[in-house]
């Protein structure tokens, strides 16, 4: 009896979790222009549309540019924030951590309004730069958290061991702390990239027609009308997420064998 309850609820919940994407994504290869089963035949033609139609391809390129830019800036900002915070006392750490993590809890719409207005006043509204700036604020907390986690996970004895062997503070930081925190930086970089690459709400407020990212183009065509290219985009974005998880897993495994 209890097993029946457990398994039926588990199967239902699991189905609800995975079925939507598993059912919809194969339609990217459907030969018909209607998004229905049974499939009319197998085709790559919607992929061709994606890779040749200007709005799609251009927005993909914009997304990559913004995500890469965000990754670099957020890594710098979040990484330095984490290292600086680690060096502070207990109360300094508390206050700084709260500051650096806080953008996570602010609703994106609020950030979008605030940034659209403020960036416009600063004269950087609308372009690639404003998107990188906004996404940096969204991504830096994740970099901060993952670098913080790896720095806090370090065995303090290692630093003491290095000191007992004569290494100065800076030399210890370079040769012991930084290399051991590397997985944290790498994880943070991945977080930053995917956060920016998938972000839609803030981008909606900030992007000009020339700097539209892929999620924005997907969002507006979803409001417009459903066509198979949309499923192609969803599939491609899902593949990026899968690659991301694989990379994350690799990093985690490497971290485990080291420690």
């Amino acid at each position: 009896m209890s097993r029946i309850i457990y398994w039926s609820s588990l199967v239902f919940a699991f189905f609800f979790l995975v079925a939507p994407l598993l059912i919809v994504l194969p339609l990217a290869f459907n030969d018909s222009s209607f998004l229905t089963y049974p499939m009319d035949g197998f085709t790559f033609r919607w992929f061709e549309v994606f890779f040749t139609a200007p709005p799609w391809l251009a927005s993909l390129m914009n997304s990559l540019k913004v995500a890469l830019g965000t990754m670099i800036v957020a890594l710098l900002v979040g990484g330095m924030a984490a290292m600086g915070t680690m060096l502070m006392g207990k109360w300094g750490q508390l206050v700084l951590s709260a500051l650096f993590v806080s953008p996570i809890v602010i609703p994106s719409v609020v950030l979008g309004v605030a940034m659209a207005y403020a960036f416009g006043r600063m004269g950087v509204g609308g372009g690639y730069l404003s998107l990188v700036m906004a996404h940096t604020i969204l991504a830096a907390p994740l970099v901060f958290l993952s670098v913080m986690t790896s720095l806090k996970g370090l065995d303090p004895e290692l630093d003491r061991a290095a000191a007992s062997m004569g290494a100065s503070r800076w030399y210890r930081f370079q040769t012991v702390t930084l290399p051991l925190a590397m997985p944290g930086f790498a994880t943070g970089a991945l977080f930053a990239f995917i956060t920016s690459f998938d972000e839609v709400v803030v981008a909606l407020f900030l992007a000009s027609p020339q700097s539209q990212t892929l999620p924005i183009t997907l969002f507006s065509s979803l409001r417009d009308r459903l066509e198979p290219t949309i499923v192609v985009v969803a599939l491609l974005l899902s593949i990026v997420s899968c690659l991301f998880i694989i990379a994350l897993n690799r990093l985690q495994k490497r971290g485990e064998t080291r420690n």
Binding site: F16, V24, T36, V105, I137, V200, I230
Partner: protein
């Protein structure tokens, strides 16, 4: 160990750039929302003389009338129309009054009597009240509009029926948030339970599915639901094929579509904290309970479930707070009656560039979210649940 001065110097060196970036790109924009919500620059800068007069005295006297007329004279025709339109939002008829007065400003004697002679409405203190309120550099106009609360003539406050539209939308936002939270907890619990207690094979499969879902963009998952739920979409097709229905059901652009899609999108945020907590419950406890004579259901209800409540609370709180700020999913799967506060914030900016209203509603949302976070922190402390589960860290 003590922090040497050189450590502090290194810390400050490292922190300069991040703090500067956060201030410039994050704190200042957020603060500007606060300013925008009460900013009356559009009106007060057009009434420099009158604004200066009212900052000295509240009297409606001849200098006030002269200041009003000189300000109206200085304005371009287009500006007068704009000002009139904004005054009109508060009191009907003011648009024509401003435009007419402005057009004839040269002819009117610059005294109160002269104004009243031109149009008797200028003798009405209510008109002057509106003018005075709106030429000041800060205004509570947006807050009044957002809450529907209006100052009455007797100094009290009242909410006129029909003016509480944004409070109703806030209520709707909370209701949808609660519905979604309950559903995610209900559906997420067995999944979290499976990850925490299932065989290693079940654990691996379910956890992989949860993480994939967590890291797949919200937009992609919403897309899947749009495709599934449309009138001639997959779900309707399937139901018709099963002969369960003959006519397609309306599954999207209504509350059903919104709640189902949001539940799916937010599901991982409920599951991950529950997994974190359930993993700390030793399996030996269930075995002990069984060996002491309790059946599996009794064991679950009396031993396992109470201990997992902390995860349920954290997961539910996370989902609820995230749901309050949702924009994309309701915008794509809901009807006009299912839009949440975020939608109206975005609408004010995208349609009318009405930064004032967008800011006030943003503040409203922000206050709700921060208030809930603080409440959550206080509750955690009260229950002694200080080990906050971090979905991000777990997923990493």
């Amino acid at each position: 160990m003590q922090k040497a001065p050189s450590t502090l110097l290194a810390a400050i060196t490292l922190l300069v750039l991040p703090v500067a970036v956060y201030i410039a790109l994050y704190l200042l924009p957020l603060i500007s929302i606060g300013g925008l919500s009460v900013d009356n620059g559009a009106l007060s800068t057009r009434f420099p003389a009158l604004s200066a007069h009212f900052s000295d005295s509240a009297e409606v006297d001849d200098p006030a009338a002269a200041a009003l007329l000189s300000d109206l004279q200085a304005m371009a025709k287009k500006d007068r129309a704009e000002v009139g339109r904004m005054f009109n939002q508060e009191l009907g008829g003011m648009r024509s009054l401003i435009i007419d007065t402005g057009n004839e400003a040269d002819e009117i004697v610059p005294t109160v009597a002269g104004l009243t002679a031109f149009d008797p409405r200028w003798g009405d203190p209510a008109i002057w009240d509106v003018v005075r309120r709106n030429v000041e550099p800060i205004t509570w106009r947006h807050f009044q509009k957002a809450t529907g609360v209006k100052p009455g003539a007797d100094g009290g406050y009242s909410i006129a029926p029909g003016d509480d539209i944004y409070l109703r939308i806030l209520l709707r936002t909370f209701v949808i948030g609660l519905q979604v939270t309950l559903l995610t907890l209900l559906i997420g619990y067995p999944l979290a339970y499976a990850v925490a207690t299932g065989s290693s094979r079940v654990q691996a499969i379910v956890l992989m599915a949860v993480l994939l879902s967590f890291w797949t963009s919200i937009l992609v998952r919403t897309t899947a639901w749009v495709v599934l739920l449309q009138t001639n979409g997959l779900l309707n097709g399937f139901l018709i094929w099963l002969n369960l229905i003959t006519e397609p059901l309306q599954l999207i652009f209504n509350r059903f579509g919104t709640v189902v899609a949001m539940t799916h999108v937010l599901l991982p945020f409920a599951i991950l904290p529950m997994i974190n907590v359930m993993r700390t419950i030793p399996p030996a406890q269930a075995q002990a309970s069984r060996s002491l004579g309790a059946g599996p259901i009794e064991t679950f209800l009396r031993v396992y479930f109470p201990q997992s409540l902390r995860g349920v609370a954290v997961g539910g709180g996370t989902v609820f707070i995230l749901a309050l700020g949702f924009y994309v999913t309701p915008a794509l799967t809901g009807g006009p009656g299912d839009q949440m506060l975020s939608y109206y914030i975005a609408d004010f900016v995208r349609k009318g560039l009405n930064w004032g209203m967008a800011s006030v509603l943003s503040l409203l949302l922000l206050v709700c979210v921060v208030g809930l976070l603080v409440t959550g922190a206080l509750l955690r402390r009260a229950f002694g649940w200080n080990k906050a589960a971090k979905p991000e860290a777990e997923a990493a």
